[in-house]
């Protein structure tokens, strides 16, 4: 209960006029950062960091963490409206959010996304409030083998339920792994697959690829189909917020599941990106209508958004309690803390109580302020869909190009974005799924590093992936999810045929990918 008293004190700090003002300003800036692809949370926070050097640390962190909330909210907007994920963790939101917008249900999708974000973030903050030091210790149990287990589980949960042609999923995944391998290899310190070209040295930036694959290819498709948005007739009023809310309690199980997945991934630096994909994959797996996913299912928006925000928020916990940033933005905030003379780590909770609890209180308030601000803007953003496509398309393309350029300030990336736009177009025409490619591109490198680090430590012994309860359960859960989908399909087919339905023996393949 001591903690609750501390939290009340925190609210007193956070609720002063100037801190509330910083919160609102931060959220607004964050939305802008989130909407512009490429600018991104870490860059946004890094750019504004010097402005806060003169401020007192509590106000400064409130401003910067509010930018973080705003960016988390903002990332959903372009994903839903234009199929362009403003942030990496919004990719999974496009899968159902964009089809919804095309069906004229942009308002619903936005409301669902924002509300889910809020619920996810709230569960993350509650976690931080009550079990901070306890949970933070858990992150210490993650060595390379456990990290690989998490990535393995993410791949399995996402792929095991894929309804597309399995060979096409594997092809798309393999291309993603190949792209992820380009650049400097952490383990050997050598450059790989760069063919001596300096442009390839930095590898393929995830955002550049995604902007091309999703955004640019979508524009190409729309142009082919005759230059009009399908979702023009969106009903635009604030009533859509209330109507959507009325339908949300039905999805309680998805919301809880995604929150748990997200919190877990945030604390065990798996990160918001992995969490959003896993949340989406699990929701599809457990849904009664898995076939509706990808065609405009509200649940498909709720699941990744809840998970991403729960993860994004929980990621601040290991940063504060252990000094381990759970995300890139958290890493920049960590740098900020040190510049303000605060040393993150277990001592922070003891030595700088008012700062920690002021920050935690501001998480509650900042998210609430964020939700109110973004909900109020739903009609504005939904109205964009009414502008003729011939006017919007060039603007989107320019925003995409700026986004691709901003990531690394590299002109080459704009060309890369256009090339991947064509790749995405071809993929869609040939009915290859894009999601496995993106997933492999984001996590492939890290999964490979973790795999090789674990084997370095064990001297090449594969049993390291089953050496303790934590990593074993991760691997077994992953294998189960991987075979669950195909086995379920098989059983369905067999029972339909009325034949002998003895399931084939499961073959537990090795974790190598």
């Amino acid at each position: 209960m001591d903690d609750l008293n501390q939290l009340l004190l925190g609210f007193q700090v956070a609720l002063t006029w100037h801190n509330v003002l910083f919160m609102v300003v931060g959220v607004l800036l964050g939305i802008v950062v989130g909407v512009l692809p490429g600018l991104g949370g870490p860059n946004g926070v890094a750019i504004l960091l010097p402005l806060t050097f003169g401020m007192d640390p509590t106000s400064a962190i409130i401003l910067l963490s509010s930018i973080y909330w705003g960016a988390l909210f903002g990332g959903a907007i372009t994903s839903i409206l234009f199929n362009i994920p403003g942030e990496a963790w919004s990719v999974a939101t496009t899968f159902d959010g964009y089809p919804l917008a095309q069906q004229g249900r942009a308002g619903e999708a936005l409301t669902a996304a924002f509300t889910a974000s809020f619920i996810g973030a709230l569960s993350g903050v509650v976690l931080i409030t009550f079990v901070a030091p306890l949970v933070a210790k858990f992150a210490l149990r993650f060595g390379p083998a456990e990290f690989f287990g998490v990535f393995f589980l993410t791949f399995c949960s996402f792929i095991g339920m894929g309804r597309e042609n399995k060979a096409k999923i594997v092809a798309s995944l393999a291309l993603g792994f190949l792209l992820a391998a380009v650049g400097l290899d952490t383990i050997s310190g050598d450059l790989r697959l760069t063919f001596g070209a300096p442009e390839l040295m930095k590898g393929f930036d995830f955002l550049v690829v995604v902007i091309g694959l999703f955004g640019v290819s979508e524009i190409l498709l729309t142009i082919e189909e005759g230059l009009h948005f399908k979702g023009k007739r969106a009903a635009i009023d604030l009533g859509v917020v209330l109507r959507t809310w009325a339908g949300l309690p039905r999805y309680w199980a998805t919301l809880i599941r995604s929150s748990v997945v997200g919190m877990w991934m945030g604390v065990t630096p798996g990160g918001a990106i992995a969490a959003s994909f896993m949340g989406y994959g699990l929701a599809k797996r457990f849904s009664r209508r898995p076939d509706a996913f990808g065609r405009g299912e509200i649940e498909g928006v709720l699941a990744p958004e809840t998970a991403a925000h729960a993860a994004g928020t929980s990621a601040l916990l290991p940063m504060l309690a252990l000094g381990i940033p759970g995300s890139a933005t958290a890493a920049v905030l960590l740098g900020g803390l040190m510049i303000w003379g605060l040393q993150p780590g277990p001592m922070l909770f003891i030595e700088k109580k008012e700062f920690v609890w002021g920050l935690i209180a501001s998480m509650y308030l900042g998210n609430l302020a964020g939700l109110l601000i973004v909900l109020a803007t739903v009609p504005v953003f939904a109205a964009i869909m009414r502008i003729p496509f011939a006017l919007v398309a060039p603007i989107i393309l320019v925003v995409c190009a700026i986004g691709a350029f901003t990531v690394e300030s590299s002109r080459f990336d704009i060309w890369l974005m256009l090339i991947f736009g064509v790749v995405g177009y071809v993929f869609k025409k040939l009915d290859y799924p894009l999601a496995p490619l993106v997933l492999a591109l984001v996590l492939g490198d890290r999964a490979e590093d973790a795999f090789r680090q674990a084997l370095l430590g064990s001297g090449g012994d594969l049993s390291v992936f089953f050496s303790n309860a934590l990593v074993s359960s991760l691997m077994i859960l992953g294998l189960l999810l991987l075979v669950w989908g195909p086995l379920g399909d098989l059983r369905q087919r067999l029972t339909r045929r009325g034949g002998n339905d003895q399931p084939p023996r499961e073959i537990a393949g090795s974790g190598a990918s």
């Binding site: 870490p42 860059n43 890094a46 960091l49 010097p50 050097f53 003169g54 992150a139 210490l140 149990r141 993650f142 060595g143 390379p144 650049g183 400097l184 290899d185 952490t186 383990i187 050997s188 310190g189 050598d190 450059l191 300096p198 040295m201 930095k202 590898g203 252990l322 000094g323 381990i324 940033p325 890139a328 890493a331 920049v332 960590l334 740098g335 040190m338 510049i339 003379g341 040393q343 993150p344 780590g345 277990p346 001592m347 690394e408 300030s409 590093d449 680090q453 370095l456 430590g457 064990s458 001297g459």
Partner: protein
């Protein structure tokens, strides 16, 4: 009237100074060859803060992170910007190590050295729960351990990997080095007991040291650090013995400095030398040094070039012995 007078004086001053020296005419870009939040990034942002607070330059300072290829991309960028006096790059030992390890066609000799701001020490850290009390205990344990003890750190063929291999060779032990992506993860892995030791900079371990999850055995410097203020209940940075005094004859320190692109004029170079000289006197910079337990060592001009030449020779030597030089 006051304003008019002040403006007139201002114009006068401007004309006087521009007649004598070069001044930046557009925003100054500081390229950081590492990701946001890392040690180099913090240094650049501290400098940015100190310059802005003290109003040392009229033009704004912009920080650009180019972390690709262990800083190789950033170095190529500076190489291409020859003659551009509005660009700077923060440097660490990577300025020799990355080209040697990757065969990138770039060298610090293509750049203009501006100033060395400080040196960063490396410390041998172990998990506090382990029985090792001295560096010698650790080495003894490493001699008999099977499988070998594990160290972990920044990345393959980077500073701490070099220390790990040099330590192996100096003490006749076998140690497995696990490359992580940066000192942060290596610090967490040590606190979690997944590796047996790491060779992190003071700033990377201070939090875990204070919380009692890791402890320092020795510092890879020729003499102890000079910060005498207690960091934990009973120890200060200055209380950590040097590794050579513990029988581990390995010393290694990393420079933290600033370079400009090649082919800039001496006036332009002089402007920045003067600027960083001023920065090194600001309270912000001094607080930064103490917070990160850096070794203050400001050098410019010939003494900086001499340092670089000698330091590069040392790296080439160590890296050749360690087998880090790219062969293909």
């Amino acid at each position: 009237m006051g304003i008019a007078v002040r403006a007139a004086i201002g114009v006068l001053l401007l004309t006087v100074t521009s007649a004598q020296a070069w001044e930046p005419t557009k925003p100054i870009e500081i390229i950081v060859p590492f990701p946001p939040g890392g040690a180099s990034d913090q240094m650049a942002r501290t400098i940015q803060g100190a310059i802005q607070k003290g109003n040392l330059v009229k033009q704004p300072i912009i920080i650009v992170n180019k972390p690709a290829a262990a800083g190789g991309e950033a170095m190529l960028d500076i190489q291409k910007s020859a003659g551009d006096p509005h660009k700077l790059i923060t440097t660490s030992s990577g300025i020799y190590m990355t080209p040697l390890a990757t065969k990138l066609p770039v060298s610090w000799k293509d750049f203009t050295p501006v100033a060395m701001m400080a040196q960063d020490a490396f410390v041998l850290w172990v998990n506090a729960a382990k029985p090792y009390k001295t560096a010698q205990d650790f080495i003894e344990a490493a001699k008999t351990a099977a499988p070998p003890l594990k160290t972990g750190g920044n990345g393959s063929k980077r500073e701490d990997h070099l220390i790990s291999v040099t330590m192996e060779q100096a003490t006749g032990t076998k140690i497995t080095y696990v490359p992580y992506q940066g000192g942060g993860p290596a610090s967490v892995q040590l606190a979690g007991g997944h590796i047996d030791a790491n060779m992190n900079n003071p700033a990377e371990e201070i939090a875990n040291w204070r919380s009692g999850s890791v402890k320092p055995l020795c510092v890879f410097s020729p003499k102890p650090m000079e910060y005498t203020q207690k960091v934990t209940a009973d120890m200060a940075w200055s209380d950590i013995p040097t590794c050579p005094s513990q029988g581990v004859n390995v010393t290694y320190q990393m420079l933290r400095g600033m370079f400009m692109p090649g082919k800039v004029t001496p006036e332009q170079q002089a402007f920045y030398v003067d600027l960083f000289q001023k920065v090194s006197q600001t309270p912000e910079w001094k607080a930064y040094l103490e917070r990160n337990a850096l070794v203050p060592d400001f050098r410019a001009g010939q003494s900086f070039v001499d340092f670089l030449t000698e330091d590069e020779r040392k790296h080439k030597d160590l890296m050749t012995k360690a087998g880090f030089i790219a062969t293909n």
